[in-house]
């Protein structure tokens, strides 16, 4: 397809993107657009240094390869370079979203998915302002390399979100309702879930009180648990921070105990949703990777470079946020595997704790932080009154050992608006999830 220069490793990633975005503000249409573009990212490696170029005119790819190659120093033994040797060679075409193709659905139908919610929103005087979003995205990714790779796959995600401002007297609450799927049908018929959600928010609005700061046993909802897994451990499993770092290699030795035996954390690019990446942006096949298995450090996430330097297997985690950036080590769908207690059993064992239901955001390095939006006291094993909390924090490694209970069902989900940020690359679509997770001794403020 392309004429690759001699003495250099070259690869080309082509992204053919279709996106819809519809926004209504308090019932009035604010945005309704379809965006399509095709663009590419080119990489050349001479064994010493990488050279990249992102281009928006795909007809110029060959010319850009030729131009970029002039910066590099051809190396006749490039194929013996350990990183180049490590690159997988795959030839495959995985097209799975032709049947429920979002491109075939009219913009009116997409608008109507949101409009269905308007009468309900208008019913409640305490919802003072709201915005309703419909977003979808279909991407075809092609990958070609000078080693002979030729892959193509598609992914498709759709979602709706309603951001609401609740007000009663001097009480305020911002909260969002979100649903995601891989096709439009997956968003239909969800409105019956919406009314109870509003009731929950209203109850929180009028009854919530500032939390008494302190250390608590905290139960995380599947949403909060998924973000916790992503922030607390997922980022630590991205192995680009370990290259050449002997301290980290020793500290993060495979087989080390990092949590209790009930804890297993997985990253898997084969799961439908935002994190579906059957081939990563270096053409590597996605693997199911146990980061933690039964409390033991079991694996980490790799690009080809990191896998080469650490002499480990490829995992398919080299991802770029879009055609403007190079792939770096990122998560796909990261989740905590279920345990063996029912949700009710998990709560019943907590005399005085906190339940985090919905969250605004999370982050994590040595300390992780979750900013809850809807949270409740747990008293005598039951969810009790709502509490306003700024942040819940804990030391990542200590906290993993404080997890002492998991419910028996894992939910996988995707954020509709936003995504994962790492350095300059934001927002990367990722999936996440978990069961209900009980953690002791978290700092609540």
């Amino acid at each position: 397809m392309f004429k690759f220069p001699e003495g250099l490793y070259t690869d080309v990633r082509i992204e053919d993107v279709y996106e819809t975005k519809v926004i209504y503000t308090v019932g009035e249409i604010e945005e309704s657009k379809v965006r399509t573009y095709k663009a590419a990212f080119i990489r050349i490696f001479d064994g010493e240094r990488w050279y990249y170029n992102s281009i928006s005119n795909v007809e110029d790819i060959q010319a850009e390869i030729d131009l970029l190659s002039k910066y590099a120093n051809p190396n006749e033994r490039i194929e013996e370079n350990p990183v180049v040797k490590k690159f997988q060679v795959n030839k495959d075409e995985l097209i799975k979203f032709e049947e429920d193709d979002i491109k075939k659905i009219s913009i009116k139908e997409k608008q109507n998915l949101l409009r269905e919610y308007f009468p309900l929103l208008e019913e409640y005087e305490f919802i003072k302002h709201w915005k309703a979003y419909y977003v979808d995205r279909k991407i075809y990714k092609e990958f070609y390399s000078s080693k002979g790779s030729s892959t193509k796959f598609d992914n498709q995600t759709v979602g709706l979100a309603i951001k609401m401002q609740f007000v009663e007297g001097d009480k305020l609450l911002s909260e969002s309702y979100q649903k995601s799927s891989t096709n439009v049908n997956g968003l239909k018929g969800k409105i019956q879930e919406f009314r109870p959600f509003i009731s929950k928010c209203y109850d929180f609005l009028i009854n919530s009180q500032p939390v008494k700061p302190g250390k608590y046993t905290v139960i995380l909802s599947p949403l909060a648990a998924g973000v916790f897994a992503h922030e607390s451990f997922g980022h630590k499993s991205e192995s680009d921070f370990m290259i050449g770092d002997e301290t980290m290699k020793k500290e993060w030795a495979i087989g080390k105990t990092v949590g209790r035996e009930l804890l297993s954390i997985v990253d898997d690019g084969n799961i439908d949703g935002n994190g579906y990446v059957p081939y990563d942006d270096e053409g590597t096949r996605a693997e199911k990777t146990y980061l933690v298995k039964n409390g033991l450090l079991s694996g980490r996430l790799h690009s080809t470079t990191t896998a080469c330097y650490l002499d480990e297997d490829l995992t398919g985690n080299a991802r770029a946020v879009n055609f403007e950036y190079e792939p770096i080590v990122r998560m796909t769908t990261t989740y905590i595997e279920p345990g063996n207690q029912t949700k009710e059993e998990l709560f019943s064992e907590v005399e005085n704790g906190i339940y985090i239901d919905e969250i605004k955001h999370g982050s994590g390095m040595s300390t992780f932080t979750i900013a809850p939006s809807l949270a409740y006291y747990i008293k005598n094993g039951k969810i009790a009154e709502p509490v306003n909390i700024s942040v819940v924090t804990g030391n990542v490694m200590e906290t993993l050992n404080e997890i002492d209970g998991l419910s028996n069902e894992t939910e996988i989900m995707s954020f509709i608006l936003g995504g994962c940020g790492k350095m300059e690359q934001f927002p990367l679509p990722v999936g996440f999830g978990g069961p209900y997770v009980r953690v002791n001794n978290l700092n609540v403020q």
Partner: protein
Amino acid sequence: MIKEKYITNIKEISLNVSQSRIDSVRNKNIEKTGLRVYDNGYIGYAGAIGNYDESDLVNKAIATLDNRISYDFEIEGNKKIHEDYTSEIIDENKMVDELESLLSVLREEQSDFYFSHKFNLTDYSVKLINEKGLDLYYKDKYISLGLIFKEKSSLNIMDGFVGFEGRKYDRTLALKDINHTLNAYKNKVELPNKKTLPVVFDTTEPLPFIKFIHDLDGNNFGSNSSLLSGKRGIKVFNDNFTLYQNNNPNYMPVPFFDAEGVVNKDYNYSLIENGVVLSPYTNKKIARKYNLPLTGSATCEYDGVPTLGIPEFRIRESEKTAKELLAGEMGIFVLMTSGGDFTPEGNFAAPVQLGFLFDGEKFIGRLPELNISSNVFEMFGSSFRGVSKNNTSPLSTSKYLIMDMNVSKI
């Protein structure tokens, strides 16, 4: 029908650093064009990345008039302002050699650390032109060095970051700043034994401002969904606290006009002045809907409708240096937090992963991990000390923001 174009262009050379060495060079040159048509009170729009056929784009924009998105506002016109903030910062062809020289010094002088991340030189321009004689053009060029550092013996992914963003580059000054931070990092000190201490932020740190993003949003403010709703004209913050919506490129690389072509006097707008709430940030639609001042805070995606965006905030600096604002006390300089947020009623808390004891001129040493907490009305009210008149570095335009907060060890 009036046609309008919104064109952005970014040219960037980005050098990536891994394990204290350059591992890649990335070039980017991407132009995005948005074409809008205004007709009978409605707006149509279309966009393209890279090359495009103008008549095709116009037809696409006209077709979107069917969405009947109302735009019944005066279209800006008869205004031509071109502002060019570019200068010769560094020879593009010598960037690799320059960074390699800087890194070689760091590898020798700061051999206890690994360095990673980016050295970018960015050319950025925004143009807004229409058939009513609007011709606004902003062009800028800036350099940013962002190096994440990690102590070789550390078990963390990263321990902190050093660097700057601005329109100047000088290796000696850059190294002086980096060495200042890293030398202080190596000196562990204790947290002063006081419940309340002056806490110091770099003014580019977004954390202290996140409450204003929500509560000065024109939609939230106008619909009584904000803590500040109903407080226009009322003093709720410190006498010395003035908050601007900043579109002035002299303070940060930002276009002097918004996505609707609104240009403010002195390229800024006072949202809070001397503690008195004057206005939330608004675009044309929000200003009319809630009868609020128009502050020119519209943003847009290249192929979309102008909508209310989050502006850059700037606090008016005081007449005092950071040292004078600290008035002999030691401050807690917050270099790196992990999250942090406000509750709806304005209570704030954040864990600080890396903080330095700061005497107003230099970092004395690295503090243990700690918590900071307060309330928005205290942070910018009774506990507000001010923003320094001096910059944090000769290579940066950012300053020190200082307020008293509750501080405790984690």
